[in-house]
């Protein structure tokens, strides 16, 4: 597709359940990022992939969060044993290059609600 695609757009789950969020970046973009946006806040960095490898996962809040990008294109963010505090919009972005001047192209986000 022309832009970054994220699925599902909305996910409601119960506390303790496992969740997967998917991101399909713009074709040809080697850099992929996951951000989390809580109400009233700006996007908060979670993890960055250059190709298949996670170049920086320093933003993942704890070991319940994990992300993969096995073929260097689609990425999946996985959250185990979800907690109410995980409720947020999870944004995926891609860019052509990881260089300093590279702007991010965001998807519409996946809104996660943990009851």
């Amino acid at each position: 597709g022309a832009g970054v695609s994220q699925t599902p757009s909305n996910k409601v789950t119960e506390k303790g359940k496992y969740v997967e969020l998917r991101c399909d970046p713009i074709s040809g973009h080697t850099a992929l990022y996951w951000y989390r946006q809580s109400l009233g806040q700006g996007p908060e960095f979670l993890i960055y992939f250059q190709g298949t490898g996670a170049a920086d996962d320093s933003g993942l809040p704890n070991d319940r969060f994990f992300a993969v990008r096995p073929e260097g294109s689609v990425s999946t963010l996985k959250i185990q044993r979800t907690e109410r505090g995980d409720s947020a919009v999870y944004l995926c972005a891609s860019s052509l290059t990881h260089a300093n001047t590279g702007e991010l192209f965001f998807g519409e986000g996946s809104r996660l609600t943990v009851l």
Partner: protein
């Protein structure tokens, strides 16, 4: 530790007038700054950027000013239009954050009244 701060949660401006959105940062190692615009239920979209070697960048109705000594940047929109009503995020990058990690402010919601 909020490295990029947008202290005004909202701003209301009359159509045709100038909108000025402000942003402060704490780390002098940031060397590239961006503004993103976000409509409801959409992801942020890139608007305009500026390198730390410049103090001004203009693109149509949008101008970004950078004052490195004050660690302050601002986005000017003139003339403001109702379609500009959105949340505006200030963001910054630098080698100290790995060069690729963009740090965002909390955003300012702009209302342009017709």
């Amino acid at each position: 530790d909020q490295q990029v701060k947008q202290n005004s949660p909202s701003l209301s401006v009359q159509e045709g007038r100038i909108s000025i959105l402000n942003c402060d940062y704490t780390n002098s190692m940031f060397d590239y700054f961006l503004w993103y615009k976000k409509y409801p239920a959409e992801g942020p979209t890139f608007l305009i950027s500026i390198s730390s070697i410049k103090d001004k960048n203009e693109d149509g109705r949008f101008t970004v000013f950078l004052n490195k000594s004050a660690k302050h940047l601002s986005l000017h929109i003139v003339p403001s239009q109702p379609g500009d009503s959105a949340v505006y995020f200030c963001a910054a990058k630098g080698d100290h954050t790995g060069g690729f990690k963009t740090i965002f402010g909390a955003g300012t919601r702009l209302f342009v009244k017709a």
